[in-house]
Amino acid sequence: MTDRRLLQLDPRDNVLTVIATLEAGETICLAGKQVPVRQRLPLGHKVAACDIPAGAKIIKYGVPIGSATVGIAAGEHVHVHNLKSDHLPTYQRETQASYFDQQ
């Protein structure tokens, strides 16, 4: 069974939503396997439900929410460092200059 702190919103999803903040060093249970949490995962963030190859669609709510920019291992944090929109780039304060350079 899968961890109760991880929410799958649709059976097709390959990411799970963290519904109680997880601290580094804790372990989560993914399809019966224990996986260590490498860094703090705040409430609302996503982890990979399975191994996801680079270029594959990330599925949440049963629909694609973008593509993996690198290979992602099961249990790994899925966010702006490895997931990219298929529509519009995601703006972040830290990368403001490069964001507008790429336009």
Binding site: G44, D86, H87
Partner: protein, 399 residues
């Protein structure tokens, strides 16, 4: 519940007097006029631009004759482009008391403030005698918006608002959801819910227009806080935002200031038509709330995960907090704690019912958190819209 019966037959859930500046140069005077009466339902609205804009004039006409509004004071500098005579005539034709203070003709700042306050005092006293009439759920128009979203918004508060929307529509009310820029990626799913086949391409086209608009400007409807809260892409944010529309059929597509026919669910398209001219479609949540109100919303359901604090002029805002950690940090700003769903303390159905009940109590006069604290935000920008296409609204005979 009882509403405030206006001379034009519409019924409001609040008894507001608006003080409206017609150019930024008149805002200080207008603000000074309204400020002493802020706890007596005198609200400041206005348009800051000096150049004419058909959208801004239409918005101000709709806002100044909103069912929650009982009287209107216009504050003009005197030389701006805004057609103050047309607006005053429009308001007067609905039977609402209206008066214009022109600062350049009234002896400057101090005399204008004094004259304005005197008028407001008199009319607020008159409004205390506004007639009351029975108000049914069928007569309510409710808008929904999400702001300060995080990844909990699309799991708890937005679906709970969607459930409340379903209950409102079943009871015969009108429900409006918005922000086509936050529906990018779910347009096909949404179009399946169109009440008429000819509406489907209109819904898809509205989202495609939003995608083009934001691509031209180089920025999606996505703030850094969204990412800090666990949202990674606009598609992901869209799917969460979309869930606040519930499951009812979509009866039509409207633009800001279009008041939909009574009953059913409508999508409000806030993205300007034509070439990109004036900038972002939604510079902030407050601009969208003003558009929902201009389309007749008596009150607004506002879903937030990161923790927005805004309220609004003219219409009460009910804050549904998606994130239990945010709720504990910012309890005074929130009306409903939808984060209980994540902690196993309530079901989605229960929170949906709670939001529905809260709508009815607010319509009956109960103050929301933002009203109690004194929030009365308002923003109005430049935009350009074309008239609705024939497929956007139900045929008159089918209403």
């Amino acid at each position: 519940m009882k509403g405030y019966l206006r001379p034009d037959g519409r019924k409001g859930v609040r008894n507001v007097l608006v003080v409206a500046y017609l150019v930024e140069c008149a805002r200080h005077v207008a603000h000074q006029i309204a400020w002493p009466f802020r706890d007596r339902q005198a609200h400041l609205i206005g348009f800051g631009g000096c150049y004419p804009n058909a959208y801004a004039l239409q918005m101000m006409k709709r806002l100044c004759t909103h069912p929650n509004v009982g009287g209107v004071l216009l504050v003009s500098l005197g030389c701006e482009s805004f057609n103050r005579a047309e607006l005053a005539q429009h308001v007067g034709a609905t039977g609402r008391p209206v008066h214009t203070v022109v600062i350049q003709e009234s002896g400057g700042t101090t005399k204008s403030i004094a004259a304005g306050r005197q008028w407001v005092e008199t009319v607020l006293t008159q409004l205390q005698a506004s007639p009351r009439a029975d108000l049914t759920v069928r007569e309510l128009v409710v808008g929904a918006i999400c702001g300060g979203s995080d990844a909990t918004s699309g799991i708890t508060a937005n679906p709970a608002i969607g459930r409340a929307f379903d209950l409102l529509v079943e009871a015969g009310a009108t429900a409006i959801f918005e922000e086509t820029g936050e529906l990018i990626g779910c347009e096909q799913v949404m179009a399946e819910r169109a009440a008429r086949p000819e509406l489907r391409p209109e819904l898809i086209a509205a989202v495609a227009k939003a995608a083009r608009h934001y691509a031209t400007l180089g920025h999606g409807s996505f703030a850094p806080g969204n990412a800090e809260g666990g949202l990674t892409t606009i598609e992901e944010k869209s799917m969460g935002a979309y869930s606040k529309s519930g499951r009812s059929p979509i009866m039509g597509l409207i633009k800001p200031g279009d008041v939909p026919p009574p009953g059913g669910l409508y999508l409000l398209d806030v993205v300007p038509d034509g070439e990109v001219r004036f900038g972002f479609a939604n510079i902030n949540d407050t601009a969208e709330i003003a558009e929902l109100i201009a389309s007749g919303s008596h009150l607004i359901l506002f879903s937030t995960g990161r923790g927005s604090v805004v309220g609004s002029a003219i219409a009460p805002v009910i804050k549904v907090c998606a994130n239990p950690e945010t709720y504990r940090r910012m309890t005074e700003d929130m009306d409903v704690n939808a984060g209980r769903i994540l902690e196993g303390q309530a079901t989605l159905e229960e929170v949906g019912q709670e939001v529905f009940a809260r709508v009815l109590r607010t319509a009956a006069g109960e103050r929301t958190a933002s009203e109690t604290i004194g929030h009365q935000e308002f923003t109005l920008t430049y935009k350009t819209f074309e008239p609705l296409g024939p497929a956007c609204l139900p045929a008159a005979g089918n209403l």
